[in-house]
């Protein structure tokens, strides 16, 4: 099967004054096959969102992006803006956390979706595009689609707005959907509905999904594989089951232990300290100041991803013994 999305040594730097650069993303390798769901998990500032924004060229001006990101073999880094615009919203759809700011509040939702369709295919009439918007509403289970397409964003509840945004992202039958914290602003019952919807879409349409979230529960039920990010790097990656049940990185283990569960007991595992700022990364493994297994070697060198038999883990002292270095 052809890889849908593949990044190699993807780096992002921001100007830090005095001609210096601060590295926000320090070499990230990811891959996604068609129809697969990749969960990218991390806390604020880990770099989980900017990696995806970089490949869609949505970063603020001044950011320096290097390395490679291929979508169906085509290099996205350095692609001409006119060409990336053709991909964005067509082959690659996006869903963001805040559906209210993603819509223009003075235009009817149906018109906005129709515009997204006609923009990429001028042969379609406005009328046909509106009909298509109605069909998309039906696909994402918005009740009374014919009436809803002519309403304004403020007439939609949070959950319905998120459905409408997913409908818009699907308008041009994308092969890849990037969803950045798609349920974070929603209540749990609404979140459950949206996650069910994403699960069905993936099954019915076979699209690849990159799901960016801080919530381990969200990826547990939806992702085929997971990449855990910390301080601009992937610290652990593997199949969803391996990451949860054969956890090798102390940070991943800490994250899992920090979530208050619905059945466990006892004190929560806390990770002391705070995540590093991009302007002031600790030397060596950037997790070492907060790690309870830290040793002098951790400050010396940045660990690279090594296969542990289950997951790939970037740690000098993984919780599971490594078997081999991952081939670059």
């Amino acid at each position: 099967m052809n890889t849908l999305l593949e990044t190699k040594d993807l780096r992002i730097e921001f100007p830090a004054g005095d001609g210096k650069w601060a590295e926000a993303l320090c070499g990230v390798d990811l891959s996604l096959d068609p129809g697969e769901v990749l969960g990218i998990v991390g806390e604020s500032g880990s770099g989980k969102s900017i990696a995806m924004m970089a490949l869609l060229q949505l970063l603020p001006k001044g950011a320096r992006v290097t390395g490679s990101a291929r979508f169906k073999g085509k290099e996205l880094i350095g692609m001409a803006p006119s060409r990336i615009r053709q991909l964005r919203g067509k082959s690659i759809g996006c869903v963001f956390q805040d559906p209210l700011s993603a819509f223009n509040s003075v235009l009817r939702i149906g018109d906005q979706i129709a515009e997204a369709i006609t923009l990429h295919d001028r042969s379609i009439s406005k009328r046909a595009a509106l009909k298509e918007a109605e069909r998309l509403f039906e696909l994402v289970a918005i009740p009374q689609p014919a009436k809803r397409v002519s309403q304004y964003p403020h007439e939609f509840s949070g959950g319905m707005r998120q459905r409408a945004m997913i409908a818009m992202a699907l308008a041009n039958r994308p092969e890849l959907l990037i969803a950045d914290e798609p349920t974070t602003a929603l209540d749990v019952t609404v979140q459950a509905q949206i996650l069910d919807l994403l699960r069905d879409l993936r099954k019915d349409l076979g699209i690849g999904l990159v799901l960016i979230t801080h919530d381990l529960g969200v990826v547990a039920g939806l992702a085929d594989k997971i990449a855990v990010m910390y301080g601009g790097r992937i610290v652990e990656r593997g199949t969803t089951d391996d990451v949860f049940y054969h956890t090798a990185h102390p940070y991943t283990a800490g994250l899992i232990g920090a979530v208050p569960s619905l059945d466990g007991d006892g004190p929560l595992q806390q990770i002391d300290g705070t995540p590093p700022s991009i302007f002031n990364r600790p030397a060596g493994c950037s997790f070492h100041p907060r790690c309870s297994y830290t040793q002098p070697a951790c400050q010396a060198g940045v660990p690279s991803l090594m296969n542990t038999g289950h997951t790939d883990c970037a740690c000098h002292f993984p919780l599971v013994k490594p078997r081999a270095e991952v081939a670059e």
Binding site: E43, H214, G221, R290
Partner: protein, 332 residues
């Protein structure tokens, strides 16, 4: 999860109602009222954590604020020990606030940006009229109590991380040794790894100081972890109130069951196997809540009775476990 203990009541809320006027029409006159808190009664016991959960718009924060009279309740009584909060005049209320404090969700917005940590903490202590030397010692003690380094005193809020700011908010609430602290989504804005530390701190402080918490949150995992008893709110009413073990292991109200089944669990095998109860439709508008049981429009067990009569919050299995439902019972 904790055991319930023999108790003395610190806070007693009876028939509390908070209505917000609804304006409309050509002249912007009052056209009705939204009942954000609708006839709520419950007690909080000394030294316990009382969890209050519900989705956005259910009235949980309004309830917390009405109890402290940060917003004026429309009717009902709130008693703190033997003192009537709802009837207190402004000077009495000022004194009463020494005994009940609040910690907000957004620590940046609730700390004065131009005051240092020590000034922020001194502000609350002014009510206690301490001599200067004792004030400094007291501030140092508070900083230590929330496990922050002593050199924090001269920092400004923007120099602190989110978790550290929330610890300062907690220290400020503790400064007058209150009997009750209302914690309104205290960890929702924090990253998971930081959140765990703040939750652990809250538990440790409670066992050291014996204060009671009203812990308001939308995250059911967090609430389960920290609470002794939990009340679930839906559209302005408490639909179920029970000791934490009962509520999570054996929820009786269909809404509680729906909420619990909706939470994504950080366990892939469990996620694949379990069946979700997905509620029908959208949350009704709080401006026009359904008659009878407010959940009946989305409830799988609804019967014609549910649309006509409001079920009272009453004991079902044990005197401690209350549910407001005409057809309570385990998940079908």
């Amino acid at each position: 999860m904790k055991d319930t203990m023999p108790y003395e009541t610190v806070l007693s809320v009876r028939n509390l109602i908070k209505e917000f006027p609804m304006r409309g029409g050509l002249l912007g006159g009052e056209v009705g009222a939204v009942q954000a808190v609708s006839d709520i009664s419950f007690d909080i016991r000394a030294g316990e954590t009382f969890g209050l959960v519900g989705e956005s718009g259910c009235g949980k924060s309004t309830l917390g604020r009405s109890i402290l009279r940060l917003i004026e309740p429309t009717s009902g009584t709130v008693m703190l020990g033997d003192k009537d909060v709802t009837a207190a005049g402004s000077e009495d209320l000022r004194q009463l606030r020494r005994e009940m404090q609040i910690v907000f969700q957004d620590p940046m917005g609730s700390l004065h940006p131009k005051m240092t940590v020590s000034q922020i903490l001194a502000e609350g202590l002014r009510l206690a009229n301490l001599p200067r030397s004792e004030l400094t010692a007291q501030i140092a003690r508070l900083i230590d109590m929330v496990r922050l380094p002593a050199d924090m005193v001269d920092r400004y809020p923007h120099e602190l991380s989110g978790g550290q700011r929330q610890r300062i908010g907690i220290a400020r609430a503790l400064s007058l040794n209150p009997k009750l602290i209302v914690l309104d989504e205290p960890v929702s804005a924090l990253d998971v790894s930081i959140q765990a530390g703040v939750l652990n701190l809250l538990e440790e402080l409670q066992s050291e100081l014996g204060c009671a918490y009203l812990f308001i949150a939308h995250d059911l995992g967090v609430v389960r972890h920290i609470s002794h008893r939990v009340a679930v709110m839906y559209l302005g009413r408490i639909v179920e109130l029970a000791p934490v073990q009962d509520l999570y292991a054996n929820p009786q109200h269909p809404y509680t069951q729906t909420l619990l089944s909706a939470i994504p669990r950080a366990d892939p095998r469990l996620e694949r196997e379990r069946k979700r109860i997905v509620p029908k439709g959208d949350l009704p508008s709080p401006m026009d809540p359904p008659p009878g049981c407010r959940f009946h429009t989305r409830c799988p067990k609804a019967t014609p009775l549910c649309a006509m009569e409001t079920p009272p919050l009453a004991a079902k299995n044990s005197a401690d476990a209350l549910v407001a439902c005409h057809h309570p019972g385990p998940v079908a």
